[in-house]
């Protein structure tokens, strides 16, 4: 089976371009990371400050979801091309998982 994928046109010319693209992407990753740290600090601060639980719970959950989206789409590159199947199966997994959690919160009791 063909082992090597066709490499994009002229390797030498695209090399510089690729490096630049990687560097740009890296900058993006660092920004993402900063925001993730920021969200984490706010979440901990909200709990530390002792706000009402009716505010804290939805708030920290929202922050967690946003942070995870960052992680998936930037750190794990799910935003890149070629991740369609990965997305389909991750979302399906999230859906099944969500239904499970919903059930366990609603129809399991004493």
């Amino acid at each position: 089976m063909a082992n090597l994928q066709q490499n994009s046109n002229n390797p030498k010319a695209s090399y510089e371009y690729r490096r630049k693209k990687h560097a740009e992407e890296m900058r993006m990753q660092v920004i993402t990371f900063t925001m993730m740290i920021f969200f984490t600090v706010i979440a901990f601060a909200a709990v530390g400050a002792g706000f009402s639980k009716w505010f804290i719970i939805p708030f920290v959950l929202l922050l967690a979801v946003v942070q995870v989206i960052f992680q998936l789409y930037y750190f794990m590159h799910m935003s890149h091309k070629g991740h369609e199947a990965a997305q389909l199966f991750m979302y399906s997994g999230v859906l099944v998982g969500f239904i499970t959690i919903l059930t366990f919160l609603t129809i399991i009791w004493w």
Binding site: M1, F89, S92, L95, V96, T100, T103, F104, I107, I108
Partner: protein, 625 residues
Amino acid sequence: MSTIAHTQKRGFAGTVWEYLTTVDHKKIAILYLLAGGFFFIVGGIEAMMIRIQLAVPNNDFVSAGLFNEIITMHGTTMIFLAAMPLLFAFMNAVMPLQIGARDVAFPFINALGFWLFFFGGLFLNLSWFLGGAPDAGWTSYASLSLASEGHGIDFYALGLQISGFGTLMGGINFLVTIINMRAPGMTYMRMPLFTWTTFVASALILFAFPPLTVGLFMLIFDRMFGSGFFDVAMGGNTIIWEHFFWIFGHPEVYILVLPAFGIFSEIFPTFSRKRLFGYSSMVFATVLIGFLGFMVWAHHMFTTGLGPIANAIFAVATMAIAVPTGIKIFNWIMTIWGGSIQFTVPMLYAIAFIPSFVMGGVTGVMQAAAPADYQLHDTYFIVAHFHYVIVGGIVLGLIGGAHFYWPLMFGTMLSEKLGKITFVLFLVGFHLTFFIQHFLGLMGMPRRVWTFLPGQGLETGNLISSIGAAFMAVGIIIMLINIVITQKNNVQVGRDPWKDGRTLEWALPSPTPFYNFKQLPLVRGLDPFWIEKMEGKTEMTPAEPIGDIHMPNNSFIPFVISLGLFIAAFGAMYQMDDKAWAIPVLVIGMAVTFGAMLVRSIKDDHGFHIHKEDLLEEDGKGGTR
């Protein structure tokens, strides 16, 4: 480095070694067929014992405790160790060929999946000889299974855990194979229905097995390591097990029945000499069933007190599944309609499947009405329902599929005459056994009951049911004889033995070369082989020139990894008896497994190449066509 010499004769020990180390999907298929067939017979013997015990009232053929063990092992064996592996056998044998692939995506993982299943099944069945089998039903509800004495339930939990890992790997392997390895031109909407159903069933495996894994871990922890998930005295809750079991369990029934649907969807067009009616709606229905399959599990728990709202939601969702299923039934009927029909053995099974499965579906919808289910639950009506879908759907598919694909897997053709005798005996026996059980259930005979009293109107029904079971047993025995005779005579039937093969697997020479396709075929539409035949060709048009073919090396590591877990399971189980050797055994077993995994990841395995020259030379010799 082995090349084409692969196909040459070798001694008995050589053959055994070849199968212990093989990573070829066609050989793994045969392993699945053998192991699954063996467990099918074991489960069948257990079924016969159940029916003998229940043939007459107040019988004491087996004791009550043993009876519980037998029904538990019958259900567990049939679902996990017979039906699933047999379907995996066909998936392995057929699917890669149908999409025009040289191999599956992960040949090594494929072998690992088989050996995990095999050792898990072996472990589970060893319980018979090591102090008693599990006895809490195949559902193993926690309130019952925590109270069960001895090690039966431990065998169940550990054995299923090991074989479940294997199944999960198999599922991922099939998914990646289908997504990444299709031949040029084989778009998603040109994939044969069996490939589609394999795809959806594998996706269901991927999402349904993790909840089972978690549930089994909790059962293992509760029984062997003192945790309290299901122990009410520690604050636990037994309903958690039921949810996990059925979040897995309902998708599981579709994991089983969808591939059977796929087999029928191949048989109908072949022997009607017509393309499958409503192909796209078939695909759509398959995907929809897979999706809805995850939304309905609580219909198994209507009577646990989920409350009216939950019951209503799950009732409606369950009934909705009947819609895509109905679409499929009508499409099959329309495929036969007006075709030039050949009543071969596979076609007979396919035709018998339609009314049989519909009856199971109808009782399913009856049970889906939650208030009605309060009456039906845990009676023989349920037993009748799920046997109508499981036997009438899956087992008919397996036997029909075995006849249909036998020439592909072994190059020989099972006798049509014996096949028809088996068919009649099995079908008559099946309806005799299970139809009457609907009425036994309605009359109040509870499920999983050891015996019953005379004078309550249950005698005749149970006797008829037992007689039917004997018919099925005789049918299966004749099928085994058929297999032995056929393999003994060993009359090779060559390429496209049914003459009307439509899909790629029939375009290959027989026996299939170990590299499958010398040149990847060019797929020009649905039923690609049929298209070429209609244009007067006898072979597929190649999509590439002849070139080197890359093949994976055989490996013994899958066997060792699985063996390690098998050993570790004994340690985990006996440490609860404070046996001094138990913990070391657990550690050694895990060390074997992880050590083998480490070896696998450290030792490079690049496989080997079959060279172009060898392929060309073989062409000159003109192998069996």
